[in-house]
Every structure is written in C-alpha cells, then in structure tokens.
C-alpha cells in the first residue's frame, strides 16, 4: 500500500473524511428527527419536544389501518419473492450453463427493466394493467413488482451458478438424475446461500418499491410505502407525529430485513453486482 505523507495529501484525506462525516451526520440526524418526532407530545420551536409519549403509535395504527396494510404488504412481498425466485433461478441456470443463439438479446431483455427507472415503464405497464382489469388488485401489484425483481434474481444468480463445477452435475446425470432431480438434490443445496441472498434483496427492494406499487395499487392493495406516501401527501389532515410514527413502523419493517440480508450479502450488492477483488 502506498502511504502519502505530504501535508497536502493529509489535508486532502481530512477533507474527504469531513465530507463523509457531514453526509452521515445529516443522514442520521434526518432519521433521528423522524424517530424523535414520533415519540413527541408537542414539538414546536425547540430543540427537543416538551415530553415523550407512545400514543402516536396506537393512533397511527388505527388511523392508517396499519394492520391491514402490513398484511397486504407481506402478502405482496411474499408472492413476489416466491415467484421471482422460481422464475429467476431457473432462467439464471439456463443462462449460466448454455450458450445459444440470441442469448445476448435475452440478457438485454433482462437488463433493461433494471436500467430503466420504474416510473418510465410503470406508466405504460399500469395502463395495460388497467385495461386488463388487473390494476388495483393484489395480483396486479404483484405482477408490476415482478418486472424488475425477476431480472434482478437472474443477474444475481448467474455468477453463483457459474461457480458450481459442471462436473458435479455431470456426475449426477451419469447416475441417472433428470433435470428436476438435479435441481432439487444437487443444485438447490449448493445454491442455497446465493438464493437466500438474492431473495432477501428482492424482499428489501419490494418493501421499498414505491413507484410501481403506487401506479397500480388500489385502496385494498396498497403496501406500507404507498400508504406512507398518501399520509405525507395529505399532511395537515393527520398530526405530524402520527405520520412519523407510521414512518418509524415502515423503517423498522425495512431495516429488520436489511439487517438479516446483510448477514448474507455485501452491502454493495444492493447497488451493484460487480465482483470486488481482494486488495493485494
């Protein structure tokens, strides 16, 4: 490793760390504001609220029908995770193991929904779903959310599958395993860490996926993040603390899964899947 010892480079390093510190400080303060406000009795024009209470949580719970919303959220997320897992892993296996004409085109087809922002393809998608009558229903929301998650699983799984030696599969074939048996008895156990990582990331992303759910959800198929949006949008109707309490519930729902996910994946995987080289 190269160590720069000149004054200039030390100042530069200090400046960079100050920048990072400033960013993180603001980020944490922003989150702390929401949490503090959700426990505040009255908070106007002072550093800290006058007193603390937990009653906003009970009022938010009943005002926003959070129980129903949470159930819908987990049903949607569960369906999205299972379907995108089943479709994504099988497709990733085919793409990792076979070379066939048109493969590049197919990979492009799976890359596009990840590169194009949800709101851009969400509007035509929602239009189609409204015309077929799926929009506003549970399955409409699930279908819209599958568009980016299936390709996501495929792209995360391909490197995992490529790591498995094809000789192991060849051995299973020699002993007469068909593709299904090969999947269940050989590949699934070997791929489990990768599948778990991919599906946890899908789970976190789907809980936080606002645009697609917002565009296709009806009153009975709203997920938590969409309810939160409507609550903030209609701020003034409800008290700020109540909305903040809901925001905290949303934060906890997301962060629990993020923490579980981080046990299996590198945080950078949430953004990229580029392999990191070990530092020499």
């Amino acid at each position: 490793m190269i160590r720069d010892t000149t004054l200039g480079s030390k100042l530069w390093a200090a400046a960079v760390w100050v920048l990072v510190g400033f960013f993180i400080l603001n980020l944490l303060a922003m989150i702390a504001t929401v949490v503090t406000s959700s426990f505040a009795t009255r908070w106007l024009g002072t550093w800290l609220p006058v007193g603390f209470t937990t009653r906003w949580y009970t009022s938010a719970w009943s005002e926003f029908q959070l129980w129903d919303v949470l159930i819908v959220t987990f049903q949607v997320v569960g369906a999205v995770v299972l379907i995108s897992g089943a479709l994504g892993v099988t497709a990733a296996y085919a793409l990792a193991r076979r070379d066939f004409p048109g493969k590049k085109l197919l990979v492009l087809l799976f890359l596009l929904p990840l590169l194009i922002p949800p709101i851009t393809f969400g509007i035509p998608l929602a239009t189609v779903l409204y015309q077929t009558g799926l929009a506003g229903t549970f399955w409409g929301v699930v279908a819209a959310n599958l568009v980016p998650t299936v390709p996501f699983v495929i792209l995360v799984m391909i490197p995992f599958i490529e790591q498995i030696d094809p000789k192991i599969e060849a051995a299973a074939r020699v002993f007469g395993a068909n593709t299904f048996k090969l999947f269940v008895h050989v590949l699934l156990p070997l791929l489990l860490p990768g599948i778990l990582a991919a599906l946890l990331l899908v789970l976190v992303r789907t809980i936080a996926m606002f645009e697609l759910t917002f565009l296709v959800a009806g009153p009975t198929s709203q997920t938590l993040v969409v309810s939160l949006y409507y609550a903030v949008f209609a701020a003034g109707v409800r008290s700020v603390q109540s909305i903040d309490a809901m925001a905290v519930i949303y934060m906890v729902t997301t962060l629990v899964w993020l923490i579980i996910a981080l046990r299996f994946v590198n945080p950078t995987q949430i953004v990229t899947r580029a392999k990191q080289q070990p530092a020499h």
Partner: protein, 303 residues
C-alpha cells in the same frame, strides 16, 4: 458445455433434438422461457402498447396530436428542462463527491460499516427520505436550528417545498448509489498498476490523472448514466418536498397526472415515451463519448 447435453444414442444419425442441442437448445435452455415470457408480457408488451397508444390521442385528432400538444404547451414541455435542471447538477455533484471518497475508502480495511450506513437511504426509499427531510430541513428543523446557533444565518433558510428540498433528497438517495457503483469500479482496478506508477515517482495527483482516470472513464460513464436515469425519474420527493405545481414539476409528475388524474392514458403514455427518449438520448450521448477514452484490460497483466 455441449458435453452436458443429455446424450441420446446416435443410431439413426443426428436427430432434430441432437442438432438443437449442438446449438445449445435443450431442456435446460427451455428453463429460461417462463422468465422471458414474463418480461415480454409485462415489460416489452406494455412499452410497445404505450408507444402505439401515444399515437392514438384520446381527444381525437391526427396521430401526432399528443406530441404536438406536449411541445406547444409550456406547462408540459418545460417539465423536460425542469427535470434536467435537477437531474444533471445532482448527478454531476454526486459523481464529483463519490470519486474522492471512493478513492479514500478503497484503502480502508473495514468498509462494511460505512457501506452499511450508506445503504440505509437506498433501502429506506425516497418516500421516507422525503418525510424525514420535511422535518429535518424545515424552518424549525435541526438543520436550520444548528446553523442559527452557530450564527451562520439569522433567518431559517427555506429548504423544503422548493428546488433545494428535492435537490437534497436526490443527494441523500443518489450519493450512496453513485458512491457504491464508483467504489466497485475503483476496487476493480489492480493496485499493482498504481504501485508501479508510484515506484516510478508519480505523486498522488499524477497517479490519479494518468493511471486511474483513463482506466475508470468507462466506469464513470456508466455510473453517470445509471445515476442520471435515477435522478431524471424523480417522483415522490418532487411531489412531497418540492413545489409540484411550480419549479419542481418534473416530467414524471406530468406523466402521472395525465394518465391517472385526467385518465388520458394516451397522453400519459406519450409523456412517458418522451421521458424515456430523453433518458435514452443522454445515455447514448454519454456512452458514445466513452469511445473517446481508453478501453482495455484494467488488471496488471504479466509479461
């Protein structure tokens, strides 16, 4: 790979199945079909449908009526400029901040804590960030309060319900995204190259300018594109933190309003198509300029 294809006996010469297998088509290849059908149905078909629909105006008129209306109504066509005016500065600033930070962080042993903190705003999503910033940057929020305590300002700055609120939210969700992408590109370059430059007496700036920058330029171009596309499609924070009827009436608001408030799906699709084309245009322009830079191996080759 072909050796893996189910081996059938070659009694009667190659069958159709064998010839297909030789090209890589067999039962395993078919596993890709369900996902491909899903993508075709829910991604390609809606896009094509929206594209065709945008040429069939709801109010009648000829096939270009929607596009003509968009480009003649200032309330609509100005959304492109307003969105660019948000997305381009934010993306450039994010990239400009991310590069020095990534170069510093790559030397760290324990990057995990930092990357975990930075992943927070991405995971929490734009809606929560908007709600948090409404409190935090508001006139009574901690940010203004701190600045006033230090005597930097006498009046609270107006940071929400205007351009800067959206700018701040794009910075908070966009910077981690840009940073993590940049970091993965920076750590992908063999440190041996830098060590060689240092051995030959290059200082830190020279190493960056003559070794890293040429190698990283393609990565930066892609990072810029991905971050820009994200920023260009800003939606919830422009509504919640900005002034959705004024300065931060971005193009996605116009599209969503046309489609789901006026129920003019044709116009909504037209605006979505215009949004897609502007994004595509910028991405193609950036990636085309990538050809001007070095392209080649970024690892220290032996020999």
């Amino acid at each position: 790979m072909d050796a893996l294809a189910p081996a059938t006996t070659i009694d009667h010469g190659p069958s159709l199945r064998q010839r297909l297998a030789a090209n890589g088509f067999d039962a395993v290849t078919l596993l890709v079909v369900p996902a491909a059908i899903l993508s075709l149905l829910l991604f390609i078909y809606p896009f094509a449908f929206g594209f065709v629909l945008s040429f069939e105006p709801k109010a009648g008129g000829d096939w270009l009526a929607n596009y003509r209306r968009f480009f003649s109504d200032a309330f609509l066509y100005e959304t492109i400029a307003k969105t660019l005016w948000l997305a381009v500065p934010v993306t450039l600033l994010n990239l400009l901040l991310a590069v020095p930070v990534a170069f510093r962080v790559r030397l760290m042993r324990r990057q995990r804590l930092l990357t975990t903190i930075l992943v927070l705003p991405i995971t929490l999503g734009t809606v929560l960030v908007a709600e948090g910033l409404l409190n935090y940057l508001g006139p009574q929020g901690w940010f203004n309060r701190t600045l006033m305590t230090f005597g930097l300002i006498s009046q609270p700055l107006k940071l929400v319900h205007n351009y800067w609120g959206v700018f701040a939210s794009l910075l908070i969700t966009g910077f981690p995204f840009t940073f993590l992408l940049t970091l993965s590109y920076v750590t992908g370059i063999d440190p041996a190259l830098e060590q060689a430059a240092a051995t030959l007496g290059a200082n830190a700036w020279q190493r960056f300018r003559h070794v890293y920058l040429p190698l990283l330029m393609p990565g930066f171009a892609i990072t810029f594109c991905l971050s820009f596309v994200q920023a260009f499609s800003v939606f919830p924070s422009a509504v919640l933190l900005g002034e959705p009827a004024g300065l931060t009436r971005v193009i996605s608001i116009a599209a969503a309003q046309a489609a789901f408030e006026e129920y003019d799906y044709s116009m909504g699709s037209a605006i979505a198509m215009i949004m897609g084309f502007v994004q595509l245009g910028i991405v193609v322009a950036v990636l085309a300029s990538r050809g001007l830079f070095y392209r080649g191996p970024a690892s220290g080759a032996k020999g």
